[in-house]
Symmetry: C2
């Protein structure tokens, strides 16, 4: 195998970022490179790893690995979907790999899922190299929109798209490149405008408490400035930096307790889940003392 990617040396892929996680790196052994290209939006790499299955990398950052992807997809999908009493119409922004979609369609009550993905390359590569994730992209409940998620939400806000959602899941890449606008106040305001009254939104926070907790605090402050309720939870994913990823969940329904499920999975639904269960739903909101103090302190100066 030749080393065709700048992040691969001597058959090891290494994720490094001087900007986002300086001084630490995570490596996976590469069996072979399956794809490398520059799409209209980002650098796209897919490789077969020795122990984590096929791995999708965008702009040098691991997006998903077949072995542990369920930990992320299940939590970002099922925490808001079970916190909601009866979600019918679901919007997924980003996530062209299809992993979140696969989880959403497991809910019998969900009638329609709209996937908004800017980069068709991600969908095409997932169909080819991540069949366990892309398997629900052709599900009859799923509609795919190839466009910018931000613009899509603007169209919803300006009634160019006449639809509101019960749950919106922002499964974006990190806040540089095409997903940069997904971490600003205007984006949260557009999310709010696209929600039904008891709707819930969840967004991957691109950070965790061990990395850039100041960034998480800012993001939580934005969320609190727009929504009545905002909470932070996390999921453990060994191929993500520091082994975990934060999720920010918001709602304007004050009666809603988003840290606990409103519905419990049926036996059939629970049998289809590998990570999520009602206990871990609640436990994922429990933080180490120092992190809880910083993230939940809305009056702190910076």
């Amino acid at each position: 195998m030749s080393s065709q990617h700048p992040s691969i040396k001597e058959n090891w892929f290494t994720e490094l970022s001087d900007e986002h996680f300086p001084g630490q790196g995570f490596s996976l052994k590469v069996e072979r490179i399956l794809h490398h290209s520059r799409s209209d939006f980002q650098d796209v790499l897919v490789f077969e790893s020795s122990k984590y299955g096929n791995v999708l990398v965008l702009d040098g950052i691991i997006q998903c690995a077949e072995r542990d992807e369920f930990a992320y997809q299940e939590m970002i999908a099922h925490v808001p979907l079970f916190a909601h009493g009866n979600p019918k119409n679901v919007l997924v922004i980003g996530g062209g790999d299809g992993g979140v979609i696969r989880e959403v369609v497991k809910h019998d009550c969900v009638e329609k899922v709209t996937l908004v993905e800017i980069d068709k390359t991600v969908i095409d590569l997932s169909r080819k190299f991540l069949p366990g994730m892309s398997c629900a992209l052709d599900h009859p409940k799923v509609k795919i929109n190839l466009c910018d998620g931000f613009q899509f939400l603007r169209d919803v806000a300006h009634a160019a798209i006449d639809e509101k959602y019960d749950v919106i899941i922002t499964d974006s890449s990190d806040p540089e490149g095409p997903a940069e606008a997904f971490f600003q106040t205007e984006y949260f305001e557009l999310l709010k405008a696209a929600l039904n009254p008891s709707g819930i939104v969840i967004a991957q926070a691109s950070e965790n408490v061990w990395l850039n907790i100041d960034y998480l605090r800012r993001l939580m402050r934005i969320a609190h400035s727009v929504f009545q309720k905002a909470d932070y939870c996390y999921t453990t994913v060994p191929t993500y930096t520091s082994g975990q990823l934060g999720l920010i969940i918001c709602s304007d329904d004050c009666r809603l307790s988003i840290t606990k499920p409103q519905r419990h999975p049926s036996k059939r639904e629970q049998d289809a889940l590998k990570y999520y269960n009602p206990e871990i739903h609640h436990a994922s909101f429990i933080l180490p003392t120092w992190a809880a103090r910083l993230i939940n302190d809305r009056n702190a100066n910076e």
Copy 2:
């Protein structure tokens, strides 16, 4: 800085193990090597990292980094100490860096702590390079025994040492090298023999659910074969493989609910803690569905 250690290349330390976590690696940027030697028992490295403070490495495996060590020390110490109603006499096996000791002496009810460490080099280096961890090694409640933990427990079992313990904490290195015997049935039997009737023992499991869950199942089966109660919990530590480490906690007191604290920290005690709180005590026992099923399934064939 010259690269004086086989795990350091171009100023990056990389933790690799074909045996224990093949196909993945974690790297920390090295500012300078502070110490490298071969003690009577193991290869010992201390380096200053760029973002995680000083780091202690034994036989190529990261033992602790100043920035995140509290996540491990607090959980392995306070989960059993708060699960116990009134711990007075505490034994710590391994942990010559002093981090666990520092946490144990925060409990006003604890009257005596015995530290059993086989490798004096670890204690000496911690005093020199990890002052925030070794700070309690000279605490008046602390007694240090420089000997093999296994032999120490045998002496207790054979009444050569006339003492029993309320809480025993096994803060060993991984099950190769000097700590190999700490992961076998006989060790758990010796732990049991050294406990007071309502005593609690906790041991670092050297693995986590994402790495070698079969090994954890075997370890849990050993624990269940010796103790009335055995449970698995974990703590998140970014410099440990896959970002988390498992802990196995056991007791012969059937009335005890070790997954919840019997005592709550006083305000003064809680103010001294950065990671542990009563909510995270319980949450640390909640596992993803697939892991809970495998770890708690005592009848599974292998």
